[in-house]
Amino acid sequence: MKLAIPLIVLSIMVVVVAAQSSLTASPKVTAYVILGKGIAANPDDTMDFMIAKFGIGKVSYSTAEEVIGVLKLDEELYRLRAVVIEEGHATGSIYRNSSEAGSFDVYSVMKGDTEVWAGKMLLYEKTYNLYVIEGVRPVKASELRARVVEYCTNNEDANCRDRLQNYCENNPDDSRCRALFRAWCLRADNMDDTRCRYEFRNWCNENPRNEYCIPFALNRSRLYCEEHSDSALCEKIATTAADICEETPDNQGCAKVQQLVTRAQKLLQNAQAIKTRIMNIAVTASLRVRAATSADVGGS
């Protein structure tokens, strides 16, 4: 009887620990937002520059989700915390060990089929210009399978068939499997994930007139082009879309480009000539309606 109480207390402690450890699993990185390499350069001192390796991901565990990352400056490791992302834009704090060392603010911009994250970094009270070229991270076969399963569970799609999931894991380059992955990227609003953007960059290289490819570059560079609406780069991106759309105004992608320019008031506001060209494209009313009711505007 004397032993009963300590035994009960011990049992309770064991049960509590067991309950907690049964739920303690590894956190999952659900999206890789930026994986790239570039240069951080001090504009006031030409020779003050560092090689910058930049990685940001969305991490989830149970109901919690955080966006975190890592920054290597000449192999010095920093952690990125309190990261906020919206499509084509990322900001956050830089930590060295546990103390705050600075902050960063970068925008995505497409240069041809290369995505560049450009912006500012503040490190120990010195400001650097930061340019990071997005790396190459294709979706892996097992990841493709999981995305296809998720997409086919939640959507009716002619490409979804029995046992297709296993087929996609064994044949990740099959066109139907890639199409389902792209559909997942669009439907689940996952263009923040570099794997989706890599898929679309490749797909759009081969299919520049696809309805999602026409607005892709403009959409990815939207925030950058709102801030720098008179930049030659933004004008070039918009011109490419306008050239295609003047030839094929009945393309749904053209309605999406118009929609994008209409919604984002600051976009191209200092490049009126190209803005007018885009708005004058004779997109049919039905396409406009479809673009307006569609959840995605060319890949977002």
Binding site: V16, P27, K37, K72, V136, R137, T194
Partner: protein
Amino acid sequence: MLRLILIGLLLSVAFISGCTQISETGTLTESQLDEATGTIEQEMENAIDNINLEELENLIIE
């Protein structure tokens, strides 16, 4: 018998409170964040190894 029921009840409450203690916090622990940071770092190193310079090589050769 009553004692057994009480002990069972106590253990159930302890288990549930153990479970909810985790879910209520709703945030990632530092060690979880460090683990995820390691994964991101590894993916970053792999991704930048694959930046394609073949086009540039071809241009130089031409």
